[in-house]
């Protein structure tokens, strides 16, 4: 969680220096969903995330060096600099290309897990998406297919109450999006997405169901991004005290740290994690900055196979 947050803080600074291009969508405030889920997964389990997916991919094991180099468009990036912030991929860690079309990954995860089922592998596939994605047709088509094909897809909805800049009350009649999965007879649970343990429990259960051949699961994680939809978002669509409440009292990292302290982890151990993360990120940023840009001929590579 700490790695994800600090990684994005570095990205924010690099964006302001003009080194990160395009749009930057940060998951600050939502890190527990990623950490809780990834701890339940193996390397060969599949992940498809979305444009707010840095936390998910880092938790699933993508190299911070390769990820940071990708942010800077360098040839040493996880996608050789061709994908940028929104398409991180590391097949060796089960991370399929992240998707920047809202709802675009739904059918893909169903196909990917159908392949696993056909090959009689016990791997599962996790799809992360936001509340807004559940209003796309692909979400409904894919949940229907997952249900009839009984594939080990785990649909994790990060309901952060806003689809981009519009509150959920204006976009959907459901308060709980888990209801939508029930329409397809997919078992669905609602969890506190800022509680990393609760998140982990829910995903562990879903993973067991998937590995047993019991089919898909839907998890609605109630959470909140305490930063804008993207860099430069004025956030005029939500009250400041609401953001402040989530940032202070419900911050997943603070909540986790407090819990660990009550369980006998020492403050020194916690600050050691922070020091480690700082060292990892110092190294990643230096690596990314020192790496070369791709050669121009590289633009013709990876369009078609050879």
């Amino acid at each position: 969680m700490h790695l994800a947050r600090e990684f994005e803080r570095r990205c924010e600074a690099l964006f302001q220096q003009g080194l990160v291009r395009g749009s930057l969508h940060m998951c600050i405030g939502q890190e527990a969903t990623a950490a809780g889920a990834a701890l339940a997964l193996r390397d060969d389990d599949l992940l498809i995330t979305n444009y707010r997916g840095h936390g998910h991919a880092l938790a699933k094991g993508i190299s911070p060096r390769a990820a940071m180099a990708e942010m800077l468009g360098k040839v040493t990036g996880c996608c050789k600099g061709k994908g940028g912030s929104m398409h991180w991929t590391d097949v060796s860690k089960g991370i399929l290309p992240a998707n920047a079309i809202v709802g675009g990954g739904f059918p893909t995860i169903v196909g990917a897990t159908l392949a696993a089922k056909m090959d009689k592998l016990d791997r599962v596939g996790v799809l992360f998406f936001g509340d807004g994605a559940t209003n796309q047709g692909t979400a409904h088509e894919a949940m229907n297919l997952a249900a009839i094909w009984k594939v080990p897809s785990i649909f994790i909805c990060e309901n952060n109450l806003y689809s981009e800049m519009t509150p959920i009350s204006k976009t959907t009649p459901n308060k709980d999006l888990a209801e939508r999965a029930l329409a397809y007879r997919i078992p669905a649970v609602i969890v506190d997405g800022n509680d990393v343990e609760a998140m982990n429990d829910a995903v562990c259960n879903a993973v067991q169901r998937g590995r047993r051949g019991d089919g898909p699961t839907f998890i609605e994680a109630k959470t909140y991004r305490t930063v804008g939809h993207m860099i430069g978002d004025s956030q005029i669509y939500r009250p400041k005290d609401e953001v402040e409440l989530w940032r202070t009292e419900r911050d997943p990292i603070t909540l986790c740290a407090s819990k660990l302290l009550t369980r006998g982890v020492t403050a020194a151990e916690l600050s050691a994690i922070e020091h480690d993360v700082t060292a990892i990120l110092d190294d990643a940023v230096q690596f990314a900055k020192e790496s070369p840009y791709p050669e121009l001929d590289e633009v013709f590579e990876d369009v078609y196979g050879k």
């Binding site: 599949l46 990036g77 996880c78 996608c79 050789k80 600099g81 061709k82 994908g83 398409h87 991929t89 590391d90 097949v91 399929l96 290309p97 998707n99 079309i101 675009g104 739904f106 059918p107 893909t108 995860i109 169903v110 196909g111 990917a112 897990t113 159908l114 392949a115 696993a116 056909m118 090959d119 047709g137 692909t138 088509e141 894919a142 229907n144 297919l145 009839i148 590579e301 990876d302 369009v303 078609y304 196979g305 050879k306």
Partner: protein, 327 residues
């Protein structure tokens, strides 16, 4: 010895042989199982290969085309059948934003070796939402290959090749070709993409075409011969990759070119061909390149209106005479 098959039979033979060769090939689509597909191309394949490999999907084009993308990224070779080309729009995100981009976005870490089989075209009174020819839309997006067989022979050979490619391929059939017959030898090898075929040699004008319009072009060439005009007819067979070498060589010989297809004229693939011919043969051309294509209106239901909209041998003859400056 000539072995005559229909276009449908040739396609079915290709599917059968490929599925026997590669256990990773899976067919998905609407009504393709027990019913055998609305054009009966997959007739009998579910009985032969089972429900695991011939999957009857819901009417859910984004869903199953997208599922094919996921299957392809995970080691399978899925074929998604779009019952009508017009439904490609329904699955457009999954085709154009997903399937074609995955290899590049991931820096080459994944590939999407999937086949989309579909049919297009008018001439049967299917009206505006079931008659469009949309190959130009696919040609505009890098990352996919496009085959448009005109004969049973090429239908089999190109479909077999489609299952050996490493990238998404759309095999575009024509609804009025399914019952046409032609020679399809036993043990036909896959036909490599990007190799056009000169279907008829000639010296006065080159007619470049593909899919069903190729048959119109051949008919036009017969008729032109009677008027003393010798037409060379080229079947492109695939438009991505595109065999410009064969086209350029022919046009530099005949000095005149007509491009003919059933898709709309405006921004159709013929416009790309005309531009490339002009770029590569300008000094050889004795007349501007002529385009024969559908009128730029939605395809009407009424028979006379539809016939008026679509290309015909007569329209190709008129275009050839125009570039010959003859009436």
């Amino acid at each position: 010895m000539i072995r005559e098959l229909t276009y449908s039979q040739a396609l079915r033979e290709a599917l059968t042989e490929e599925m026997e060769r590669d256990a990773n090939i899976i067919l998905m689509g609407e009504d393709i199982g027990v019913y055998g597909g609305v054009f009966k191309v997959t007739d009998g394949l579910m009985a032969k290969f089972g429900e695991q490999r011939v999957i009857e999907t819901p009417i859910s084009e984004s869903g199953f085309v997208g599922a094919a993308v996921g299957l392809a990224m995970c080691g399978k070779r899925p074929m998604a059948e779009l019952m009508f080309m017009d439904f490609a729009w329904v699955a457009a995100d999954q085709i154009f934003n997903q399937a074609t981009k995955m290899r590049q976005m991931s820096g080459g870490q994944v590939s999407v070796p999937m086949v989309i089989r579909t049919q297009q075209g008018g001439g049967r009174g299917n009206a505006a939402q079931h008659s469009q020819c949309l190959e130009a839309h696919f040609a505009h997006i890098p990352g996919i290959k496009i085959a448009l067989p005109a004969t049973p022979h090429d239908a089999k050979g190109l479909l077999k090749q489609a299952f050996r490619e490493q990238d998404p391929v759309v095999v575009i059939e024509h609804k009025l070709l399914y019952n046409t017959k032609g020679d399809v030898p036993e043990n036909l090898a896959p036909i490599p993409f990007g190799v056009a075929e000169i279907k008829r040699s000639g010296s006065d004008v080159t007619i470049i075409s593909y899919s069903r319009t190729l048959l119109h072009a051949l008919e036009a060439a017969d008729s032109l011969a009677k008027s003393g005009i010798s037409a060379e007819v080229i079947d492109l067979r695939t438009i991505m990759p595109l065999d410009m070498e064969t086209v350029v060589k022919s046009v530099r010989k005949t000095n005149r070119a007509v491009v003919a297809h059933e898709a709309h004229r405006n921004a159709g693939f013929g416009a790309e061909l005309a531009a490339r011919i002009t770029e590569q043969c300008f000094g050889w051309l004795d007349a501007p390149v002529e385009r024969v294509a559908a009128l730029d209106v939605p395809i009407a239901y009424s028979q006379p209106l539809e016939a008026h909209t679509l290309p015909s041998p007569e329209k190709i003859i008129a275009a050839a005479k125009k570039v010959m400056y003859k009436n």
